[in-house]
């Protein structure tokens, strides 16, 4: 659990720095996010006059939900101790909880920005969540389980060939991941231009330690999705249950490598594409939803695709 917590800002920092490099900027160092977080921690929290208790509790709850969800994803080894306490559907739903609270928090102060952010976030969620569930279904149907550990070990085994439905699910999952993490082209994590914000609009009123929590959970979420993709579609190097310390070490190394590759790809993708209008987003995510549905349908009607 602590591992993901520590790694998350690193990934974000890595992506940012790669992006800067790609734009031929110098860019901040990779560890800049850690500094940001620490700085924020030291600052006073500024609250709006009419912020309620919900506003103050929300960051911790969001953080907790995201953290637990992230901790439940196998990073370098299958067979986590408590992996049976929540399966993939539950993980998706926990992220949903976090988003739910975040959206509420965005509306708490009663500014238009918060409302705009929450409303758009909710709209995006209505696509990304079903798409995610579809992907989960596809995986579950292939692996015969919604337990992530089981899925991962199944993927490791040789029983999986190349399958159309898996490919569809992968594409869909990447699209969902992009949307969920407020990356370009759905949202721009770096912008503060009001009309285009989604995620940032919701957290506009946060400051100080509260913002730390929110930022940290956003980073965690990015890590979560990357590890999820890695664990399901590139499970190589995952240490099996009860393996020796060497296997774990290999697992950790493979994991970090995977993260690096993913971060690189993400940065590449983001620099090469423009942000789309908010009302184009449904088309983008609708495509993800359709891909997920198609993948699942294929699985339903045929066992070999």
């Amino acid at each position: 659990m602590l591992l993901v917590l520590l790694l998350a800002p690193l990934l974000t920092g890595f992506v940012r720095s790669v992006k800067a490099r790609l734009l031929r900027r110098h860019g901040p160092p990779i560890i800049q996010p850690y500094r940001d977080l620490l700085r924020l921690l030291r600052k006073d929290a500024v609250l709006a006059h009419n912020a309620s208790w919900l506003f103050r509790v929300a960051p911790y709850l969001i953080f907790a939900a995201t953290w637990v969800a992230a901790a439940l994803i196998p990073t370098f080894a299958t067979g986590l101790m408590f992996s049976w306490s929540a399966d993939l559907i539950a993980i998706v739903a926990m992220l949903g909880s976090a988003r739910f609270i975040l959206a509420l928090a965005g509306m708490d102060v009663g500014t238009s920005f918060g409302g705009i952010g929450s409303s758009r976030e909710a709209m995006i969620a209505t696509f990304s969540e079903p798409a995610m569930i579809m992907i989960v279904f596809t995986l579950a149907l292939i692996a015969g389980s919604t337990e992530l550990s089981t899925v991962a070990s199944f993927m490791l085994s040789s029983a999986v060939g190349l399958r159309v439905s898996l490919g569809l699910a992968l594409v869909a999952l990447i699209m969902v991941a992009i949307a969920e993490n407020a990356r370009i082209p759905v949202d721009n994590p770096a912008t503060h231009l009001e009309l285009t914000m989604v995620h940032e609009a919701m957290v506009l009123e946060y400051s100080g330690r509260h913002l730390t929590m929110i930022e940290l959970s956003a980073m965690l979420k990015l890590l979560l999705y990357v590890s999820l993709i890695a664990c399901v579609f590139a499970p190589w190097g995952l240490a099996p249950d009860g393996a020796g310390p060497i296997a774990y070490l290999i697992g950790i190394a493979a994991y970090i490598l995977k993260l690096a590759i993913a971060g690189l790809l993400l940065a590449l993708f983001e620099t090469s594409i423009a942000k789309m209008r908010v009302f184009r987003v449904p088309d983008f995510l609708g495509a993800a939803l359709m891909l997920g549905l198609l993948a699942m349908l294929l699985r339903f009607v045929s066992r070999s695709l």
Binding site: L41, R42, D44, A45, V46, L47, A48, H49, N50, S52, W53, L54, Y60, L61, F63, A64, V68, F82, W84, S85, A86, I89, A90, A93, M94, F100, A103, L104, M107, D108, V109, F113, G115, S118, S119, R120, A122, M123, A125, T126, P130, I133, M134, F137, L141, S145, T146, E147, E205, R209, M213, V278, F279, P282, L293, M296, L297, F300, V301, R303
Partner: protein
């Protein structure tokens, strides 16, 4: 006073039913009273299914009565509520207990009648009268459908007792027709699309504790009716019946929640959500039918358990939410969300309870709504094993609809809670709102606690449901009581499991850890300041995001076809100080395409026939004469 007594009685009944459901005693007890149809008698039977629904009904009733002890004091005309309230409760209990067609229908209709009287409490509002009319007509339609179904089941000899019906073998077209009629009958009461139209009108019209009962409990009684007839009395389902139920359930879920998103009347929004949840329940039931037709008893048991669990859950959080909306109404006199806002400051406890309800109904862990939806998903995942191609396509599609409706529900409750409780007060009434009485609060907190308990300890509920599924689909999912750490494992541990308790503990623990860590290491200072306003200070709370603006993105995406939503903005030319206008047009296509033609036809025929009131004597005589000639001619030709 009446509420207090009702509360105690309902509690006793709950405990008794619970004991019956979980206890060691013989699972079925029967009693026949010499009432009702004389040669049949009034049969009452308490089996596992009845016991479960008794728990649901009486738990809801107890909570509502407790709530009403406080809420009822604000009632303007208590005499219009008090006589009907106990009657309504009694009728719902009787429906669940009845074991012959006549008693069942009497209780069923009496339930409609009593609730109609309660809907008509605020009769001075013409909208409520209209709601009452539509409600009672739809209820009567449903009851007539059930009546026809029972007529078929009982046969021309009139074997109305459920034992006799169970003993008879029903197959072929009769079974088909019965199923269709039951879907119409129970479905119209439960609020299946497109028979739901009365529901969002009638539920909000009643006083809030009654709304809670109607939404949280009465619709469940309708579900009971469906289960009783489709699973118990009819038996041997066909696969396509499962498919029909599935499709209806899926459509109901999505359409219900989309309608809910378009509402800005808090209680109506909740009522549309009832429609959605009924859809989810029916998805579970449809899956159970489909699996049963394929001989997959275990899967059927899982699906049925999921549906029943959702019945239980929905009764909890929907009652809770209606209580919350009632509290809001008491405090502010408003149901329109556009006139609310910032209530969390004046009513923190109500706000908290309402939030719990919102999270629960949005199917978010670690509360109970998630568990039942999770189980439904698990059941869907067993879908590829069915044999029929129709089902193979339907089940995943319905799964997608279910997922969609869950996400939309979350969006909807962000809106409901965010607009009414958060933000700044939009009216003076909302600003002045204060906390409601302690009975109401106690009732809400009890329900919220139950939501949490059912969410983190679902295993107990599932075990309690085992006898029900055992009796209906001859299988139960594995006993959950023995699974370590109190998690639930519907099929096998390797396949899927969920542990609400651990998730809850984890989240709490990490939230505490984070809080402690932050508070230890970080600055604890808090500064209050004005929110960021882009440099344009606006004091007017009306400029906040409103309910309809919140729904705008979703409305644009989903509503353009479904509601034929049209927006129009009129901007004054630059320099003109006239206000800009925003027009929004929404159409209820189901109402316009299905119900308006019917009412139009009735009106047209009524007008046509009405000419016959104004004929002359000679013309009336001509009618008599024509009748005579016709009959004589018939006589001459006959033979």
């Amino acid at each position: 006073m009446i509420y207090g007594v009702a509360c105690v009685i309902a509690l006793v009944a709950t405990v008794a039913a619970l004991a019956q459901l979980t206890g060691e005693r013989s699972p079925v007890s029967t009693i026949v009273l010499p009432l009702g149809l004389p040669w049949v008698g009034a049969h009452f039977r308490l089996d596992a299914l009845s016991s479960f629904f008794l728990v649901v009904v009486d738990l809801g009733a107890a909570a509502a009565s407790l709530y009403a002890i406080g809420y009822g004091r604000h009632e303007g005309e208590p005499l219009r509520v008090l006589p009907f309230y106990p009657a309504f409760l009694a009728a719902m209990n009787l429906v669940v207990l009845a074991s012959d067609a006549f008693t069942f229908l009497v209780s069923w209709e009496f339930m409609s009648l009593a609730s109609w009287a309660l809907v008509m409490v605020r009769h001075r509002d013409p909208d409520n009268r209209r709601a009452g009319l539509i409600y009672i007509v739809m209820a009567s339609f449903g009851a007539l459908c059930l009546l026809l179904a029972f007529g078929l089941l009982a046969g021309p000899e009139g074997g109305y007792a459920f034992e006799a019906i169970r003993a008879a073998h029903h197959a072929g077209p009769v079974a088909t027709l019965v199923l269709a009629l039951v879907l119409l009958g129970a479905g119209s009461k439960a609020g299946l699309v497109p028979l739901h139209v009365w529901l969002p009108l009638a539920h909000p019209a009643a006083p809030s504790h009654v709304s809670a009962l109607m939404s949280g409990v009465m619709t469940k009684v309708a579900v009971y009716g469906f289960i009783r007839i489709a699973f118990d009395l009819l038996g041997n389902p066909t696969w396509w019946s499962g498919m029909v139920v599935l499709i209806l359930g899926g459509i109901t879920a999505v359409v219900g929640v989309l309608y809910a998103l378009m509402q800005h009347d808090l209680k109506r929004l909740l009522a549309y959500h009832t429609v959605e949840n009924i859809g989810i329940i029916f998805i579970g039931l449809g899956l159970a039918l489909a699996f049963q037709a394929n001989g997959m008893a275990l899967a059927a048991a899982l699906a049925l358990t999921a549906g029943l669990f959702h019945v239980f859950n929905h009764s909890l959080f929907k009652s809770l939410l209606f209580f919350g909306s009632g509290a809001v109404q008491t405090a502010t006199g408003e149901r329109d969300m556009e006139h609310l806002g910032g209530l969390i400051h004046g009513m923190p406890f109500t706000g908290f309870a309402f939030l719990v309800g919102c999270v629960a109904i949005s199917a978010l862990p670690p509360l109970n709504g998630f568990v039942s939806e999770w189980m439904t998903f698990q059941a869907i995942l067993l879908g590829p094993d069915v044999a029929q191609w129709g089902l193979k396509f339907t089940i995943p599609a319905v799964g997608a609809l279910l997922a969609l409706s869950a996400a939309l529900a979350a969006a909807c409750f962000v809106k409901a809670f965010g607009i009414s409780f958060l933000g700044r007060p939009r009216t003076a009434a909302a600003e002045r709102a204060t906390e409601v009485d302690r009975f109401s609060l106690a009732s809400m907190f009890i329900l919220a606690g139950l939501c949490l308990l059912a969410g983190i300890l679902p295993g107990f509920v599932i075990d309690a449901l085992a006898p029900v599924t055992q009796s209906l689909v001859q299988a139960g999912i594995p006993v959950q009581g023995g699974v370590p750490w109190l998690s639930i494992v519907p099929i096998a541990a390797s396949r899927s499991s969920y542990n609400g308790l651990l998730v809850f503990l984890f989240i709490t623990a990490s939230a505490w850890t984070a809080t402690l860590a932050i508070h230890r290491f970080a600055s604890r200072a808090v500064r209050r300041s004005a929110p960021w306003d882009c440099g344009y200070p606006d004091a007017n709370p009306i400029t906040q995001y409103s309910a309809s603006s919140f729904a705008q993105p979703i409305r644009r995406i989903y509503g353009t076809n479904l509601f034929r939503a049209r927006e129009r903005v009129e901007m004054p030319p630059p320099g003109d100080t006239a206000p800009a206008h925003f027009y929004l047009e929404l159409h209820d296509l189901i109402w316009e395409w299905l119900y308006l033609p019917v009412t139009g036809a009735v009106c047209l025929l009524a007008d046509r026939f009405n000419h016959l009131q104004f004929l002359t004597i000679r013309r009336y005589l001509s009618l008599v004469f024509l009748a005579l000639i016709t009959l004589l001619l018939a006589l001459a030709i006959w033979d």
